[in-house]
Symmetry: C2
Subunit: 605 residues, 2 copies
Amino acid sequence: METRPTGRRDACGAALGADWKTYGQKQLEELAADIRAELLDAVKNNGGHLSANLGAVELILALYRVFDFPHDKLIFDVGHQSYTHKLISGRALAELREKGGPSGFPDPAESEYDAFIAGHSGTSVAAGIGLCAARDLRGENHKVVCFIGDASMGNGEALEAIFASEKKPENFLVVLNDNGMSISKNNSALYRSISKLTAKRRYRDFNSFLGKTFKETSAFGRRLRRFKYTVKGWLNKNDFFERCGFKYIGPVNGHDLHELVGVLSNIRRMNEPVLLHAVTVKGKGYGAAEDDPARFHGVGRNFCGGEHTFSAALGKLLCARAEQDKTLVAVTAAMAEGVGLSAFAERFPSRFFDAGICEEYAVTMAAGMAAGGLSPVVCIYSTFLQRAFDQVVHDVCLQNLPVIFCVDRAGLVGADGKTHQGLLDVPAMRAVPGLSVFAPKDAEELGDVFDYARSLRAPALIRYPNGTVPALGCRRKIAADALWEVLQEGSGPVVLACGARAVARALEAAAGTSVAVVNCRTVCPLDEAFLAANAHRTLVTFEEGYIAGGFGSAVAEYFAARSQPVRLTVFGAPGRPVAHATAAEQAEELGLTAERLAALLGTLA
Amino acid sequence: METRPTGRRDACGAALGADWKTYGQKQLEELAADIRAELLDAVKNNGGHLSANLGAVELILALYRVFDFPHDKLIFDVGHQSYTHKLISGRALAELREKGGPSGFPDPAESEYDAFIAGHSGTSVAAGIGLCAARDLRGENHKVVCFIGDASMGNGEALEAIFASEKKPENFLVVLNDNGMSISKNNSALYRSISKLTAKRRYRDFNSFLGKTFKETSAFGRRLRRFKYTVKGWLNKNDFFERCGFKYIGPVNGHDLHELVGVLSNIRRMNEPVLLHAVTVKGKGYGAAEDDPARFHGVGRNFCGGEHTFSAALGKLLCARAEQDKTLVAVTAAMAEGVGLSAFAERFPSRFFDAGICEEYAVTMAAGMAAGGLSPVVCIYSTFLQRAFDQVVHDVCLQNLPVIFCVDRAGLVGADGKTHQGLLDVPAMRAVPGLSVFAPKDAEELGDVFDYARSLRAPALIRYPNGTVPALGCRRKIAADALWEVLQEGSGPVVLACGARAVARALEAAAGTSVAVVNCRTVCPLDEAFLAANAHRTLVTFEEGYIAGGFGSAVAEYFAARSQPVRLTVFGAPGRPVAHATAAEQAEELGLTAERLAALLGTLA
């Protein structure tokens, strides 16, 4: 990686050298400030998660100071707060989230310091328990540390792991990074429980008594101070973390390096499973982010917003439809801004439901709403819909309930990388009986497809990519007898393009040729009339997705189910993880470009 | 439905008439006894869930006595305890779980009394919140009641819904049926919390004081008694249900009809969201089931066990391999008996992990184990693996961890019906990059496939159906250069059969003909060498699964990805839910029989 153009002390672990562990308090604080400046630079230049990372600097620094990573194992939940960890473990952030640079999330393929992958929510505690089981059965002796935010703690999988067994493994530490925030505001009972702990008066009194009575330098005072976290845990002994088999310690100030190093040093000497509750400020150290952490949660390169995106179009569309139809409600899972629902939430607060990072709950709740006569629209990223696959099958589709899924970030997602790719919704969802699957070609068509999908009064999924896409114009509005749309007539091969980016590239590849281009805006059902009428022609399917089980696979199986031989080429991505880069670079890497399509068409013509 | 051959009072609601709501205590108790006898008869004859239903008789009877279903909405969690509800709402159980008879689970398609589908765990509270939202936005005024067992309460989705918002809807009742049991024994922290409540001494003292001081008939005593559940809730006010926005009432004796009717009547008059904690005995009223409720949890017709099944073979196999390999551990999610792990659990207790009904936690924990150097085998039903789709993708396959999934009940499941069909694992899983998918033809081949899969040191999924399957003999052991196996040579069409039942039926259909039969025991990867060598022949894929995205689809896309025209017929099931019946009847209904295959082959020859 190239040298970063800063004059600051190098916050990157490789350059820090081994001696940073002997830094005094003041040097550590300077290091924290340097790291914060690095983070700000990196996110300004490359996009990424800002607020969460700014809030976690001291906690991660203190963990590194006390524990011996990678011998000890550090597992992040979600992993969007791991930039400080990346820096300390020797990864410069100049090329953060760029092709070849460090990923925005932990990945064992990138560094031995990344003990487990992250990207989705609620997995760290389960993974940590698994790592502890492996360690104990193999007779090893390292510590296992999970780092999880308060919003993730409300996710079903995290709760399963927290509750699952009252006997938690030894030498196991869960750090709860409590910044009182989710991606969007939330009002969950869990967070109230946690924030109640923070305010416990008796502990505050004891703490203040300690401060007033003993000098910092008094040995007895130091011992008492070390003990105070246990006292606090004892005062909170009815807390559910204690019931779940953790020794609860906290709350501690997650920005006080001195306090953190002290507490963590004590914890390191203990064998019991510990939950350390640290209170932090999201966006700490960057005024704008502290004031509006949601806005700076995840930011694109140069903090640019997206006006002409599917997300923005969806937001406007839902507001318009909600005016006309009082039964329309919107449901999301802690991604209201990302899916374009901010304005809806403001205009229709009683019809807007943010489930927190609880995709399963969100989808089944929507099914309940539909069963009760509402018209719920679930707005969710493709990658997170994977979390609610069974709820789509079991709660929505088996009951044939009119829930509309608006699936954002479908296809290649760019800088968020492997854990966030939207490449599995087509294969998984098109097999679910009763679910219609749509892929509009542009933001204008989103409205037509949405209205058509709603008219079916049955489960439907509408998928579209992130970023801006060109408006391609409408030649034939979607209808029961017009599922697909011919965008370019031609006597040569027929390109069956599915999805906004594929259609745009197909038009580009076919421009000025005799190739016909079809906007295949439905995946389920296919436009069978079109296929039957064109079965004699040379057909090429094109999509931004895996070949396995994708749209092309649906076309191939359509003919094979009818024993109908056909000249068909399925053109899509090979089945492998797709790392961070721009979406265009990813498409290039997978060979899904207009040029490659044109080359293929040349061999077929 | 035909008349049931019993001389008992008819426990079926239609025959009960409207007057049963005026029954006195004694008549109600007689009715409960009659219902219990019905349940026992039904499950003896038709299989199903016994213990859970026997334990829920009085609770459901009391709910019906007090609430006004179907105007009020009753939602079951899992739904395996809903037989009493089916009886009271007019569904005779003589043909329970048989084709055309009532399903073993609630289904709105079957009765307006079934407010929401069930079959999987942890969905009821989310669905109930959704129904409440619909009711409130539409200005309706019914009550919504969820009925959930203690084991389901530990499921992630249930916890998400319980924790999700501190403001729970009004006129919302969650009945926690606490029988201190999961499908398998569990020791979760949640259950300990609940059982602690049950034993609260102060409440017991207060209760006993009430009993000693006031006559049952004293008006003040009655009022105090009505109040006592609130007192109990108050004594438990640190309980997490209270924190989560429920008024906690209980624990009550879930078999005391008098107490239940009284408490529920009070609750019905309240507007607040209430969690009623009822303690019941699983298997109540049937000695054998009370003594060994796990054995009678789900039973087949005539309580017959399965010796020559894949499940039994897997159990033996894992025990044998665990002897040789100390790193092998087995993980399941509350289905140890069902997947054949009972003996393993007994022989290797430190290497057996039952996560409870927490599929997500189970899979990520297994990923953690693999990351730590163990060789975890996750044993799970196909339908429940849907709950952990994202964990398979995100935690196991993205990290290329050597976790083996042994997927039982893959394909048609018979009497358990629509919610339990194992028809989506092939489409969903074969698209996941890095996951090998296997389908051995018989229990003997399971061992070969298992050993081969483990040799890959990468994620692998092995799927097989329930019930007994014939041993078909081995002609060519699986190996990297022998993925598929030709079982019958022939110069005619080639049947590519995938999965135990499909292979057996293909052999039957092809017997005595020139048709070749291939055991396609790998879905991912396909045997590309075989396909390339046989591309000129007439090919027919055959599987017990949906056409959409299935094995046949994989073969079709293989050729289409190479622009290779081929004479290929994909033979599988149309995409629709498959209701309860025997697995053979279901195959018949979907046209997946040897006869239909033979007929097809006749048209191609």
